[in-house]
Symmetry: C2
Subunit: 383 residues, 2 copies
């Protein structure tokens, strides 16, 4: 039995359990607005088919009345592989229904040629399958491949990937035939946003934005439980918001956030500031922590640009929360203050009430986005 051919209420109950952990049937009814009878009716087939399971009594028992029984999602009921494709490597995870990773892998790419990449993906999927013995029982339900750039999830086509220099590559189809497993593709930031929405800092929020800082600066937007995809596959391009920076950006314009606040931009500016053309990001962070004023100024400028960008997002769409995420967790403290200060100064009125959450983003998190995206298709059909 698949989840798809269950009544609509089943998806509601399942999603509630997925997001809010083990609950009693009565509590599920209260949260979903379904009648108690409907919850039982819908839970029974989910139980018999192993999608959910009964746990014991809740931690806080009631003083009166019949004791309740907790029900919860059986995470091991289905497994997914998530693969993030970058310009020079693949990151993969094999995860369960709740996007918890069971196995992770990382492979360098010899070439950016489509055939090579597809083959590498297939091999990585195979390795992850082998590594995660537990998944052998139920197999892998589907694969979610994510990649930065313009991705058309409907047709499974990568319209344009700047890092790989791909155009109109039917990646989903290619991976599907290479692996024999149903494959979905999605933009990397949007997939990560899906992961945050269901299993991260965006759980239960009516709206939030996820801003990622790394080689580029990206943004995923979730409104009303849906991740905004944009009419032409473009959305969340926050990296080129004009923030009045003097540096020329890779996009050819001047003033983009990315020209000041991407990891690449920061190291380059730190090199100039320190006079050391070999400086690495890690060293720049050390220098700044040690109090080097020129290098600190670089981070401060980056923080200012980020603050402006976040304020723009908050002013425009008014999310409940903005999650700031990226590789350089170690350096957040260097510009977090500046970010918050600039954000506060430029967020308009009540938009300033939007809370800013900083969240580390380990490398495998990107791949988890793919798994979460694939999983979502299972329990949130066509939504």
């Amino acid at each position: 039995m698949t989840l798809a051919d269950q009544p609509p209420a089943a998806a509601l109950v399942f999603q509630t359990l997925l997001v809010h952990g083990p609950l009693t049937r009565a509590e599920v009814g209260r949260r979903t607005g379904l009648s108690p009878g409907a919850v039982t009716k819908v839970a029974t087939p989910l139980l018999t088919d192993g999608w959910i399971t009964e746990l014991g009594r809740p931690a806080v028992e009631r003083a009166y009345g019949r004791p309740a029984t907790l029900i919860a999602v059986r995470a091991e009921r289905a497994h997914f592989v998530g693969v993030k494709v970058t310009g020079d490597e693949l990151i993969g995870v094999l995860a369960d229904l709740t996007a918890q990773p069971l196995a992770t892998g990382r492979v360098a790419l010899a070439s950016r040629d489509v055939g090579t990449v597809v083959l590498a993906i297939a091999r990585l999927v195979g390795e992850l399958r082998a590594e995660a013995g537990a998944a052998r029982k139920s197999g892998v339900h589907s694969i979610g491949v994510t990649i930065s750039g313009e991705v058309d999830g409907q047709t499974g086509t990568v319209q344009y990937s700047p890092f790989l220099n791909w155009r109109r590559v039917p990646l989903a189809q290619l991976v599907e035939t290479a692996t024999g497993t149903p494959t979905l593709i999605e933009n990397d930031v949007r997939a990560l946003t899906v992961a945050e929405q269901w299993f991260g800092a965006g759980v239960g929020l009516p709206s939030f934005a996820l801003v990622t800082v790394g080689a580029g600066i990206g943004c995923g937007i979730s409104i009303g439980g849906r991740v905004v995809s944009g009419a032409h596959g473009v959305s969340g391009e926050v990296g080129h918001l004009p923030v009045g920076a003097a540096r020329v950006c890779t996009c050819g314009n001047t003033g983009c956030v990315e020209a000041v606040a991407s990891t690449h931009a920061i190291t380059e500016q730190a090199r100039q500031a320190s006079g050391n053309p070999e400086l690495t990001m890690d060293e720049a962070v050390r220098f700044a922590h040690a109090g080097d004023p020129a290098v600190r100024a670089v981070f401060s400028h980056a923080g200012h640009a980020m603050g402006l960008a976040l304020a723009s997002v908050a002013n425009l769409i008014g999310p409940d929360r903005i999650i700031i995420s990226g590789e350089g967790v170690a350096s957040y403290d260097l510009y977090e203050d500046q970010i918050r200060q600039t954000f506060g100064a430029h967020a308009f009125g009540a938009a300033a009430e939007c809370d800013l959450v900083v969240r580390p983003l380990p490398f495998e998190e990107w791949a988890r986005g793919g798994a979460a995206f694939a999983a979502q298709r299972l329990f949130a059909p066509t939504k």
Copy 2:
């Protein structure tokens, strides 16, 4: 009978007719995905209660088969009053179900005191009622009051209005008791966006943004048939996006769009450029049309700032269309080219495919937004 207690399919059929004009039942079925039987079933009570009406045969008859009968919304079935409150005047319309105005009115405000404004609104509503005799038959269903600033439609409270200097004013309740008619309030730009979504240039689009240029620069965002309201009542604040302008904005920051491209900013800059401290907007437009290079440059800068702002909107949310609207229709040609050029240069990838539509915005259009907003509550329940 109200529309609300009809089955869900009724709202679907009604909305389809509202948006896509007279259609045959068969065509409604095709467009909504409902079966022919369901369309008839749902249309019958709507017909008997006068919400829709049968027209004659369609213009292009089919060669074979039973001729079809057109059905269409009976616009005169319900009437609404829309009132836009500004710092110094009220604009009101009495409109039908399709937000077509039957009567319009404009009243100067003697004071910004809450009591005075509420009284003036009540008097304006009375005048509009008297003027539109047709509405007497069915009365006015509800009033939609719109105002710039932070508005909480749920509680009917104006949280903060900078122009009127109001804070936490329960305006909906006040107007309701003063007029005896149910009253809704909403932010002016968002209400206008609702009007465009149902009856304007946003009809049928999965997503669009509406940017208004006037004393301030505002933006309404519609995604998936819903106007984005923002978690804290703030959204679409495009006026203070940083676009690197040198002028200081009213918000205290430097570089805001509004500091360069609002009508106020343009006249002020034109005064400096021409050396005439008495110059009006109309004169500035004439000068620019006559070829005055300094004044033309002012419009060009404004266009550049607008282009950057629109590109930011397009990059962030990827709408299908951006509708540019505002008072100064006469001056659009002066910076439209610059807007498009800057937009094209800064819109990222496929975001540039977003089409820009320029639309005049007569003064009563603002009030129509209120009427459309009130009407929407009737035919799009809870949506």
